[in-house]
């Protein structure tokens, strides 16, 4: 087990190198000149341009930029944004709130999705199952920038159950609505995945056997059906944390949350390579850890899977 963990951790090194190189290449290929963007409609002199390019390493070939970035990142120096702030400060400011938001969203989607999917699977074809189908269709078919906006207007502005925007007050209650909005799409995945697995497992041999042994339905459903249905769900959720943090781009904008998704998006618009790449690196790290945890969870959920 420990050997497995160590090996997996070692394997994250090429993943991080690969992912940062990939994002660096893409960012490097971005059209748009960040210096021109800085100056807006006003002209830039050659001298001023040379000065800024040297300052942000923009004058170096892309592979050198990447290596310089890695060198800095190793000692926790992610460079400075064009507004003159250390990128590590920017990340330190925005990461906790995104993390909190993504975590809340994940809990919400996991609990609601698994419970709803479980019952929909048990009562397949019944009214609850059909209702959940419609709910997931609505959630999937209406993009977040419309749905989140509508929920904000209903619950925040008109009913005033929650504050419409979050701003600096990142309390649990303030983040509740954004977390629900953020988790909606993934909720549909979790719901459908759980439902299918439950249906699948209801007819599985060990479940039938247990039932035939006279184990009460409730116990069978919980112990045998649910537990075995969780594997694809756990797989999905582990990979979803990263998606939630980036999906936060739109949600964070709607609810004015100064999170990492928003930070990345604004940086992309401004062509701030150091910020974009640093944020993505952090996201990669989080993803890698989450996916390692998922692989370990497999073993806990399904004793047949063993790691050597």
């Amino acid at each position: 087990m420990w050997r497995y963990i160590v090996r997996r951790l070692l394997q994250t090194i090429p993943v991080i190198l690969g992912a940062t190189l990939l994002i660096y290449a893409l960012v490097f290929l971005q059209p748009g000149d960040p210096i021109v963007a800085l100056f807006g409609e006003k002209p830039v002199s050659e001298a001023a341009r040379a000065q800024l390019e040297a300052q942000y390493n923009l004058d170096k070939p892309f592979i050198v930029q990447w290596l310089l970035f890695l060198k800095g990142a190793l000692v926790g120096d992610f460079g400075t944004s064009y507004s003159g702030q250390p990128v590590s400060d920017l990340i330190a400011r925005s990461l906790p709130v995104t993390f909190q938001l993504a975590f809340m969203a994940m809990i919400i989607e996991a609990i609601l999705g698994v419970v709803a999917g479980f019952y929909a699977g048990l009562r397949r074809g019944h009214i609850f199952d059909s209702t959940m189908l419609v709910v997931s269709l609505v959630v999937i078919a209406i993009p977040i920038f419309v749905l989140g906006f509508a929920l904000q207007l209903i619950f925040g502005v008109q009913l005033q159950w929650v504050p419409p925007t979050v701003g600096s007050a990142t309390t649990f209650t303030n983040l509740l609505l954004p977390a629900v909005v953020l988790g909606l799409v993934s909720f549909a995945y979790v719901l459908r995945l759980t439902r299918t697995s439950v249906i699948e497992n209801l007819t599985a041999d060990h479940v039938r056997t247990a039932r035939a042994h006279g184990v009460p339905d409730g116990v069978v459903n919980r112990r045998h059906v649910l537990r075995n249905s969780l594997i694809p769900v756990v797989t999905f959720l582990g990979a979803d944390l990263g998606a939630l943090m980036a999906g936060a781009v739109v949600t964070e904008g709607i609810f004015n949350i100064n999170g990492i998704g928003n930070l990345a998006y604004q940086a992309i618009l401004r062509g701030e390579n150091p910020t974009v790449v640093s944020v993505v690196t952090i996201m990669v790290l989080i993803y890698v850890v989450a996916s390692l945890l998922v692989d370990l969870l497999y073993a806990a959920l399904d004793p047949r899977i063993r790691y050597a």
Binding site: F39, A48, Q51, G156, V157
Partner: protein, 538 residues
């Protein structure tokens, strides 16, 4: 808000089982004055650069810099120039200007505002080693290149300190409106302490304006308190300002509705059609100074500097029903253009010769296009490029290309760019082979500032590479004019030339829009389309 609207949302989204009680009526701007302090919460965006006046060129930082610094002159709400730190700004020949300062002005650290505070700040701003984003503004001063950077090291040859309260500025060529330009933030003074560590200064500037910066809480807010030592023209009527930062104007609008934000300088596209009837807020919409134009570079095939190009430009201008777009797409918050500037400018002329080319006439448009086709047949598609990160661009570009397509019976389509950076780079490098949207927000109140930087031969923002010696001559005459009336005349002549050549097609002026929470008073929108924050009370 009316309950029926709630029901509509629900119906449309099929969200079942929402029990509604009464909706929360007008929860008017409560709070804020609880402890007797009247602090105004204003919508803002995170400044993208350090708060150094010569390095702040976007609205987010601009709001703050304008509030905390005072320049030689200040602009009244209507755009007229008033002396602020300057006692007098005088010149015999419009070329060499003697600037005398009032005695007794201090920065918030107690040091006096002297001639050196200005000269050193300007030298710093023009020095290419400092790569300041507003260097362009120093371009009229002797010793700078076209981009406004100094050509000979750290000091500009055109700046000379005479004594503590006097300095002289020598320009490259005469400019009668030079004093009017000096209220722009690039010309603000800096205290000595700034030059010791500009980076630290940019985080927490020491300033001489109506307010001082208490705290810049990044990505969240900037807290400004009033400056007790300030004795200029813009005396704060409130006890402080907090600029709350948003990345999405929709979120800010929502916060104005609920009274979290008191005043906001814009309205998101989603609320354009409703904000004037929205009884949870106060709406302000007046004619504004920002204009919108379509630039068709003369390097484009069929749009060259010849008869064919001129006919096609006129045809396109006449094929656009500006009225229809401003009333449906912008819900009358834009006004169709009648010239290349804005009616708000003091030197605006009502009827520029040839301005009828801006009037919609589908038949004539088609005829002009047919005439051009006789010279050289048009094939392909007329594309109009825009940047999609600017709110609302897409809607009007789509509407305008639709009109061109239908009225000229040619293919016309929008061409989107995700980010302004990309869009701008292609324009700057002359690599964009389509027509593109342009617009201008004046740096100082004059028609001259709309047309000189954008259409003068070789000028910095002349994106279409327009060049007409007659136009340049008219500009020079306007700059050297003795009095305002002659100046306005020369500017009208210059505009008449533009109407014929149409290097850009004027579309409309954006109204100066602001909204405020209920109970907020004193909202006045100035010539730069910004609320006068120092006047706001509640």
């Amino acid at each position: 808000m009316q309950p029926k609207r709630i029901l509509k949302y629900v119906g449309a989204l099929s969200v079942a089982a929402l029990a509604f009680t009464a909706c929360g009526g007008g929860d008017d701007a409560a709070g804020g004055s609880a402890d007797g302090e009247m602090v105004i919460n204003a919508h803002g965006t995170e400044p993208q650069n350090p708060l150094v006046p010569t390095n702040t060129n976007e609205v987010g930082g601009g709001h703050i810099v304008d509030a905390i610094f005072a320049g030689l002159v200040s602009y009244a709400t209507d755009g007229s120039t008033e002396m602020e730190v300057a006692e007098s700004i005088e010149s015999e020949d419009n070329l060499t200007w003697t600037i005398k300062l009032k005695d007794g002005w201090t920065f918030s650290d107690g040091t006096p505002v002297t001639a050196n505070s200005f000269v050193d700040a300007w030298n710093y701003g023009a020095n290419p080693d400092n790569a300041q984003l507003n260097a362009y503004f120093f371009n009229p001063i002797e010793g700078t290149d076209e981009e406004g950077n100094s050509t000979d090291g750290e000091t500009l040859s055109g700046l000379e300190v005479v004594d503590d309260l006097t300095f002289e500025v020598t320009l490259k060529e005469p400019a009668s409106d030079f004093p009017d330009r000096l209220g722009y933030s690039a010309y603000f003074p800096l205290p000595e302490v700034a030059f010791e560590d500009m980076e630290a200064f940019g985080e927490k500037p020491v300033s001489n304006g109506p307010y001082v910066l208490e705290e810049w809480n990044h990505d969240v807010e900037a807290v400004l308190s009033t400056n007790p030592d300030y004795e200029g023209n813009r005396t704060p009527q409130n006890d402080g300002l907090i600029f709350k930062f948003y990345t999405d104007p929709d979120a800010a609008y929502t916060d104005v509705q609920s009274g979290v934000v008191d005043v906001m300088d814009q309205v998101p596209p989603s609320a354009i059609s409703t904000f004037q009837d929205d009884d949870s807020i106060q709406a302000f919409a007046e004619p504004g100074s920002v204009n919108g134009t379509i630039t068709i570079p003369s390097r484009l095939e069929h749009f060259g500097d010849d008869e064919e190009g001129q006919l096609r430009r006129q045809a396109i201008s006449k094929a656009i029903d500006r009225e229809a777009v401003t009333s449906t797409i912008f819900d009358d918050t834009y006004t169709p253009a009648t010239d290349f500037s804005s009616p708000l400018m003091p030197d605006f002329t009502e009827d520029v010769e040839g301005a009828d080319v801006l009037e919609f006439d589908a038949d004539e448009a088609k005829e002009l296009w047919a005439q051009a086709d006789e010279i050289n047949e048009f094939t392909g598609s007329f594309e109009l490029s825009y940047n999609a990160d600017g709110a609302g661009n897409r809607e009007w570009v789509e509407a305008v290309t639709n009109q061109i397509r239908e009225n000229l019976e040619i293919e016309a389509e929008p061409n989107a760019f995700a980010a302004f950076a990309e869009f701008r780079e292609l324009i700057t490098n002359r690599e964009l082979d389509t027509a593109f949207r342009t617009g201008w927000q004046p740096d100082y109140p004059s028609v001259y500032n709309y047309i000189a930087p954008t259409f003068g031969t070789g000028a910095g923002a002349n994106d279409g590479d327009y060049s007409n010696p007659d136009f340049d001559q008219a500009l020079r005459e306007a700059a050297a004019a003795e009095d305002d009336a002659t100046r306005a005349e020369h500017l009208a002549d210059a505009q008449a030339i533009l109407m014929e050549d149409l290097p850009a097609i004027p579309l409309w002026n954006r109204d100066a829009i602001a909204i405020a929470a209920q109970g907020v008073e004193g909202v006045q929108v100035n010539w730069q389309n910004q609320p006068e924050y120092y006047l706001v009370t509640k």
